[in-house]
């Protein structure tokens, strides 16, 4: 649905996006993560045909960037970094204005559908200048959806919202998931990316890594099993002569064991530990947060492909 080859954008001396290669499938929710100034907004602007790349090419919804820009704009919806609503116009007038610019068949029906879906129907005649941040964000999201775009670009949809409003917006995004709709989600919220996205990309001017959240963790850290022992015996790891164990270490009196396939290897591991006289209290998987992964990558602690 979205393909980019060597997409690059410079602003004078600054290279905001440097040789971005991407391939995103139809129906995928793709998370695009990176620190402030990484070039996320610039990427969205290029992919939605708002600004031209300095070099490189892209195909969006089967249309060539630079050649069919108008067709691209008709097929994508963009939730910009700021909601960008006309505050002197009502929610209804805001939506109808955009619906008509997209020349959709039944502007009123579409506006009604999304106002109802986002629980803004009762406030449709209110000026958006009087709306709360969360309401504005929902209205902006409704606007991005009016013309039923095949591709939806969301630039930090929950930034600046209180936890409740953020949750609401997140649930809306969750509900927008469909086989027909591809979602490109820029976010700083790693937890959000972890929960919503099929695949994520970590990006800082260049693409650092891409993959589904779970396999990214595994690729970086492998999988690890934590064993709590009632009688931590410092010598015990030396006697664990199981072939699948790649590494063992003690952390806070718990034994941390790196292995590749805990589903089949953990039972063997536990049997062995019991044989060695260990009193096993808990066995669990060590979860690496996406945050650790993100921070490590951004600091360049790991080189990954």
């Amino acid at each position: 649905m979205i393909t980019a080859n060597g997409l690059t954008r410079r602003f004078g001396e600054i290279t905001a996006v440097d040789g971005l290669d991407l391939h995103i499938e139809r129906g995928e929710v793709f998370g695009f993560l990176g620190p402030n100034g990484a070039g996320k907004t610039t990427t969205i602007r290029m992919l939605s045909a708002l600004i031209a790349p300095t070099s490189g090419s892209a195909t969006i919804a089967e249309k060539t960037l630079g050649k069919d820009n108008r067709a691209i704009r008709e097929r994508v919806g963009v939730l910009t970094e700021t909601p960008g609503l006309y505050k002197r116009l009502s929610a209804w007038d805001n939506l109808l204005f955009f619906a008509r610019l997209y020349r959709i068949d039944r502007p009123e029906q579409q506006a009604e559908k999304y106002l109802k879906m986002f629980e803004l129907w009762d406030r449709r005649n209110g000026l958006t200048g009087t709306f709360s941040k969360g309401m504005r964000q929902k209205l902006a999201l409704a606007r991005a959806l009016l013309h039923e775009p095949k591709i939806l670009f969301l630039d930090e949809p929950t930034a600046g919202l209180d936890p409740e409003a953020a949750k609401m917006v997140r649930e809306l995004i969750e509900s927008l998931r469909s086989k027909e709709r591809t979602i490109f989600l820029c976010t700083h919220n790693l937890d959000e990316a972890d929960r919503l996205c099929d695949r994520i990309a970590l990006f800082k001017s260049r693409l650092l890594t891409v993959g589904d959240p779970q396999s990214l963790r595994e690729r970086m850290y492998g999988r690890r099993t934590v064993v709590h022992l009632a009688n931590p015996n410092p010598g015990i790891e030396g006697q664990l002569d199981l072939p699948f164990i790649t590494k063992t270490e003690w952390i806070d009196g718990r034994l941390l064991i790196s292995l590749s396939d805990p589903e089949t290897e953990n039972p063997i591991l536990v049997r062995k530990l019991v044989e060695l006289g260990a009193d096993v209290q808990f066995v669990s998987e060590l979860k690496v947060s996406l945050e650790d992964l993100y921070l490590d990558l951004m600091e360049g602690n790991h080189v990954s492909t």
């Binding site: 963009v78 910009t80 006309y86 116009l89 007038d93």
Partner: protein
């Protein structure tokens, strides 16, 4: 064309809710018409037909200034307002073309400016005739009519072009107003020429003024159009 219409309606709907715009478009012309008629009917003028003719001629000059003043507020708001509300990006994300956007923004100010000026002029003539007498209307020669009807669109276009350029670079409305007020200068030219040369309005002067305005307008619009490219708007406008 459909998108242009949609944009125009949006601009006017927003304008109607903006006090600054309403002041410039409705109250200012009314005040000018009111004071002109007031001067014609009171004081020296009422007793002195010569003074009345002079005052009448001066009042006619107002209708050379109004077309440049009226669009200021609309044009400033329609650009600075979009910037302040950060609506440019969602707007540019739609399939609207750069030309449609430019025309929409320009016509949103030019059309009311021209109409309001003509209406104010009609109002002024009507009220003058009623309160002062029809004899003054004989002063209204063909050159006068030509300048008010013919030059109005050109003056408005020039003013709007200047305001659009200034507004695209200005970070707030106040600064934009101040610089854009310079756009009323061409409207002052005839005022200065007529009063200094003590000539009566004559067709040659009007044609000259029109030619100058066409050239100035073309230059201004050329630069304004160049500023109205998506890329420029998103990356250069402050």
């Amino acid at each position: 064309m459909y998108r242009l219409k949609v944009l125009l309606i949006k601009e006017w709907r927003e304008s109607l809710r903006n006090k600054m715009v309403l002041f410039g478009v409705i109250f200012l012309p009314l005040i000018l018409v009111g004071t002109s008629v007031f001067m014609l009917t009171t004081g020296v003028a009422a007793e002195d037909p010569i003074a009345q003719v002079v005052l009448f001629n001066t009042s006619l000059m107002y209708f050379m200034l109004l077309p440049a003043i009226i669009p200021l507020a609309i044009a400033v708001y329609s650009i600075v307002g979009e910037k302040e509300q950060t609506t440019l990006e969602p707007l540019l994300a739609t399939p609207i073309s750069d030309t449609e956007l430019f025309l929409g923004k320009a016509l949103a100010s030019v059309i009311p400016a021209v109409l309001v000026n003509w209406i104010s002029f009609g109002l002024f003539l009507g009220v003058t005739r009623l309160l002062v007498g029809g004899f003054l209307l004989q002063t209204l020669t063909l050159p006068w009519l030509a300048s008010i009807f013919g030059l109005t669109p050109l003056l408005a276009l020039f003013s709007v072009g200047v305001t659009m350029i200034v507004s695209s670079r200005a970070s707030d409305a106040r600064a934009a107003y101040q610089f854009s007020s310079l756009a009323i200068l061409p409207g002052l030219v005839p005022l200065i020429v007529y009063s200094s040369m003590k000539t009566i309005v004559d067709m040659r002067l009007i044609l000259l003024e029109a030619a100058l305005l066409v050239v100035a307008g073309a230059v201004v619009l050329y630069f304004a159009v160049k500023l109205f490219r998506r890329e420029q708007i998103l990356t250069r406008w402050k």
